[in-house]
Symmetry: C2
Subunit: 201 residues, 2 copies
Amino acid sequence: MNTRKRIIIVGATGTMGKYLATALESEHEIVRVATKSGDYEVDITSTDAIEKFYKEVGEFDALISTAGPTFVGPWKNLTDKEFRKGVEGKMMGQINLVLIGQHYINPKGSFTLITGALTHEPQINFANASAANGAVEGFVRAAAIELQNGIRINAVSPTVIENSPHYFPYFPGEIPTTMKQLEFGFKKSLFGAVTGQIIKP
Amino acid sequence: MNTRKRIIIVGATGTMGKYLATALESEHEIVRVATKSGDYEVDITSTDAIEKFYKEVGEFDALISTAGPTFVGPWKNLTDKEFRKGVEGKMMGQINLVLIGQHYINPKGSFTLITGALTHEPQINFANASAANGAVEGFVRAAAIELQNGIRINAVSPTVIENSPHYFPYFPGEIPTTMKQLEFGFKKSLFGAVTGQIIKP
């Protein structure tokens, strides 16, 4: 039912990105992007690198991002310096993928960014991610009413994910999001009609 | 009923800050902070300036911030460069007031930051504020579970405010927050026991 699309996956070498690439590649053309390795190596903290990438990659129908570097660690070590990891990475990295990418994506294309339950369900050590997530979610709702040519934007907000059990101890009380739920969350954004939504898979 | 407190108001020369200073000064000692004029001139985009201010100001029981510089303007002009206005101002400016200020505030003190309805109710031209608000709100919830010594943190989230009628045309459908509602929102944070809350006055 879904027309074949050309889908860029940013964060393609991570746990989520690899899974999504495998889940989508039988029916769609996947372009794998990561900081190191992948079809394209792109440092998303650099607007020049993002611009260069879009110029090279050519036409595409969708971009999904699972790229979320943030500072994880004790609050007592959290200063402006550490906070910048999430500001430049998960927040501005993803926001710039959209601000720049809107000029390259096909009409009726879609952006799907990654946030997470930490926006509303904080955990000790993860304040940087809570803030970055909140920023991306606010941005997604605002961008949805600004983007032209039928371009949509959503975020997928899982909690700790099934395939990252080393994080389980840091997320007491959170029932892990399964990889299948994560996949379906991204599919809702990719193949549905919604925009400006924070999808909790 | 409320014990006399020493309250720092950041953004004291703005519409909200001036009103709150007047509303609180009969019962409390107010320290007015602004970029220009006030008891202290502090550029909150500089962590050095914030640190220097706290060293000078001495003991205090509460800090309330109404300082929210963001980029307001057409989406087509919105790039990383413009976006930084809200990132450095309303977002990191306020976050750094807390990350640094926690080491200076009295035990059982409180921080009250400013966000706004744009977090969840976007309007054309205000994507930068939506993102900055979302970041501050995520941070507030996370900081509330990390702060020690009974220190509390909340945000007040008004919509367009009564005393800024020049903004009304940009907020169709928003019933303005009255100055009295705003004052009561801040008082709930200042004199109540809540923490980690986004107070919609």
